[in-house]
């Protein structure tokens, strides 16, 4: 199992690092195809990993059940018959004075041993809890595996990007991406809506080495259910419970408010556009598609620099993640956006294969540049574009996994049980009151440094009591 998990950390995994996988495919397409056929990019959901998982499960069951029977019988049985030759035991001592069987029985009993008097000897055993702990531990591992499997089945997680002021209504259509477990059913989604009122991002402005490091992200939201409306806060590490799930904050960025008027002066697009951050200083890329523009469709690839500065090469970059001196630039395309073909398109990418670059680097006209409140004319009488305001967006994950709590409970039981199992020592002690001599003997499961001393103590205590 451990070995099987290794490739998952060597090769990028689709679940954790989809870009890494894409990169792999573009750099080494042949090798990638081979690796992919072995499911090495999806190790943890692969057929062979599941097979190992099931094998582990079966072997655990196979181990635990027979041992449970043995242990159950051991718990009910009397301590073993006193061996004939106690001298063979790892610890063997000869008593120095006569004692009674009754004294031996009492002392051992008081020390928590399970005791049986057999003829002229007492047989005692202690530490059954070791095996009990061990079994509970292995059963808990089984329970963890079950909880992971079943919980994963009913689980779901959905992602939604929400701009300040926007509201999200909890149904399947509202999610940008949704990954249900195999047993998910739509009624699990309970009705509520969530509005992002304000999203505050705090950066370090004080410490030179640390300038621009994010300190906190705080999303102020309003959650409305059929019964009530309440205010809440989602922060990193502090998910907000909503009906039937938790809401997590997983990403952030800017959403400049943009209005595009077409060549005929009609508003062809207006609203906030989600720009995806590209670096720590929030240089971001956004795509604006204006299919309703007349006479021609317009597409724009736009860059946003919250605190802009010009590099020597003439290119722009952002040097601070907060909008101190924000600038938008636009590369403008015209032609067919390809939205009518019925193929679903990624809203964050512009397919320029049927389009012509009319403004931008290496284009007839320079890229457009706008600061907040400004507007500019698009080339060739295509219309105008204006930068009306700046909002932030939050990437929210809504996730539900009913298995989690059970995994947690059984993990803690397992932990507790393993501590007991490892710390309890199983020991057998015998006292035989023979005619010539009195023998004391001890045996432990595994090695036990203290056995000698414990047998000595028991001997002295029994002799003390008989005196």
């Amino acid at each position: 199992m451990a070995l099987a998990a290794v490739p998952g950390s060597v090769y990028p995994q689709r679940s954790a690092d989809p870009n890494g996988v894409r990169l792999y495919f573009s750099q080494q397409p042949e090798l990638a195809a081979v690796l992919d056929s072995l499911q090495l990019f999806d190790v943890y959901t692969s057929v062979w990993f599941s097979a190992i998982y099931i094998l582990l499960f079966v072997s655990l069951v196979g181990c635990v059940i027979p041992r449970t029977k043995v242990h159950y019988n051991a718990l009910r049985a009397k301590p073993v018959k006193t061996p004939e030759l106690l001298t063979r035991m790892p610890v063997h001592q000869i008593g120095s004075k006569r004692v009674s069987l009754e004294a031996a029985r009492e002392v051992l009993k008081q020390r928590g041993f399970r005791v049986a008097v057999q003829g002229n000897s007492v047989s005692a055993e202690k530490g059954y809890l070791k095996e009990t702990g061990n079994l509970v531990f292995h059963y808990s591992l089984l329970a963890v595996l079950i909880a992971v499997g079943v919980g994963g089945g009913f689980s779901y997680s959905g992602q939604r990007v929400l701009v300040e002021g926007e509201t999200f209504v909890n149904n399947l259509a509202s999610y940008d991406a949704f990954s249900p477990g195999p047993l998910f059913f739509e009624e699990e989604l309970q009705p509520y809506s969530l509005t992002l009122n304000k999203f505050n991002v705090l950066y370090d402005l004080q410490n030179p080495a640390n300038l621009g490091q994010p300190i906190d992200f705080i999303a102020e939201v309003t959650v409305s259910t059929t019964q009530e409306t309440s205010e809440g806060i989602v922060r990193v590490n502090h998910p907000l419970p909503v009906p039937g799930a938790n809401v997590y904050l997983t990403g952030n960025g800017f959403a400049p408010v943009i209005t595009v008027r077409d060549g005929e002066g009609n508003v062809a697009y207006t609203g906030p556009v989600v720009y995806l951050p590209q670096d720590g200083n929030m240089t971001s890329i956004g795509v604006i598609k204006v299919p309703d523009a007349n006479p021609e469709q317009i597409g724009m690839i736009s860059f946003f620099y919250p605190t802009v500065t010009e590099l020597e090469s003439g290119a722009y970059t952002s040097i601070y993640p907060d909008p101190i001196d924000p600038l938008l630039t636009f590369n403008v395309y015209t032609g067919d956006l390809g939205l009518d073909s019925g193929i679903p398109r990624n809203v964050y990418a512009l397919d320029v294969s049927d389009m012509e670059l009319v403004a931008g680097r290496d284009a007839p006209n320079p890229a457009l540049e706008l600061r907040i409140g400004e507007s500019a004319a698009l080339p060739n009488g295509l219309g105008t574009v204006s930068f009306d305001g700046l909002l932030r967006f939050a990437s929210l994950d809504v996730a539900f996994n009913p298995g989690g709590i059970w995994v947690l409970i059984f993990s803690f039981i397992a932990l507790f049980a393993v501590v007991i199992s490892l710390s309890v020592v199983r020991r057998r002690v015998w006292v035989r009151i023979g005619d010539e001599r009195i023998e004391y003997a001890g045996l432990a499961r595994g090695d036990d440094e203290q056995l000698e001393q414990i047998v000595t103590e028991i001997k002295e205590e029994i002799e003390g009591r008989s005196a």
Partner: protein, 286 residues
């Protein structure tokens, strides 16, 4: 929110860490002399005694260094590789000095001292970063719990690894007279087992606490992130070790190797995974 970082204080902390390295070097020399002396006179323990005093001083000085780093960064001092390394070194030394009552523990003094010295050296020369705040995903009390216990586990595993190494050397018949004056094989094995046992329990807890924290920060308790995978691998290897110890015929050399493989994975998890693999946990700060 007002966080004040203090890089100058961190430099002072670095001085303490360096001084601790000096004391460790002296202790290492003394322990080495002790080993050499064992050859002529098995009852001679003067070097060892002084060595432990010097080791104690090194630990105190290092503790000051780690503490100052925490003050300088205004948070717990284990949020990047440098800090994790110095805190681990401190933890190993502390656990070791607190275990001095265990019979035969002195035999791995050279290993423990040498190992922490190398750790600190790597920390100071390779991993040092200026004090920074940590990203919001790491700002959680689970950071404190999860990492403290992880460092503890590493400490116990490290000391056990020392015993595994001496076990294997002795078992192979190397080291001549010096090794013959060491505790016997059975005892080396037993001490290693004790430390690994505590290490395993701590590591299990680390795993659970990590999952709870992941659930809070990233919406899933387990995501097969690189670091999670390696944490799991280490856990399974040590579980395998415990099984080996419980199975007759599997203890001894094979168990010692399993323990060493486990500790190798711990170091791998720390150095290689942090530096070269991609994942949410990558926090080297480099």
């Amino acid at each position: 929110m007002n966080i004040v970082l203090n890089e100058e204080l961190s430099q002072i902390s670095l001085l303490f860490v360096s001084a601790a390295m000096g004391f460790l070097s002296v202790a290492l020399l003394l322990f080495a002399f002790q080993l050499a002396k064992l050859k002529d006179d098995p009852t001679e323990t003067r070097f060892e005694k002084v060595g432990f005093w010097v080791l104690g001083v090194a630990t105190l000085v290092l503790a000051v260094g780690v503490f100052l780093r925490g003050i300088a960064a205004n948070r717990v001092p284990w949020a990047n590789m440098y800090e994790f390394a110095i805190s681990s070194a401190l933890m190993i030394l502390t656990i070791y000095l607190m275990s001095l009552k265990v019979k035969g523990i002195g035999s791995v003094a050279t290993f423990v001292t040498g190992f922490t010295l190398v750790t600190l050296f790597a920390a100071v020369s390779l991993f040092y970063v200026e004090v920074k705040t940590i990203m919001p995903a790491l700002q959680s009390y689970w950071l404190v719990i999860h990492v403290v216990v992880a460092i503890m586990a590493v400490g116990f595993f490290a000391i056990a690894a020392g015993f595994h190494i001496f076990y294997l050397i002795k078992d192979a018949g190397w080291g001549g007279v010096i090794m013959s004056r060491m505790p016997d094989l059975k005892q080396l094995e037993r001490i290693a087992y004790r430390f690994n046992m505590v290490g395993f329990v701590s590591w299990s807890f680390t795993l659970i606490a990590g999952a709870i924290w992941a659930e809070r920060a990233w919406h899933r308790y387990w995501g097969w992130d690189t670091k999670e995978v390696w944490t799991f691998i280490i856990w399974v290897v040590y579980a395998g070790y415990l099984h080996a110890m419980a199975t007759r015929g599997w203890s001894g050399r094979r168990a010692a190797w399993l323990g060493l493989i486990g500790f190798g994975a711990v170091i791998f998890n720390f150095v290689i995974v942090n530096l070269f693999f991609k994942g949410l946990h990558v926090y080297s700060g480099l």
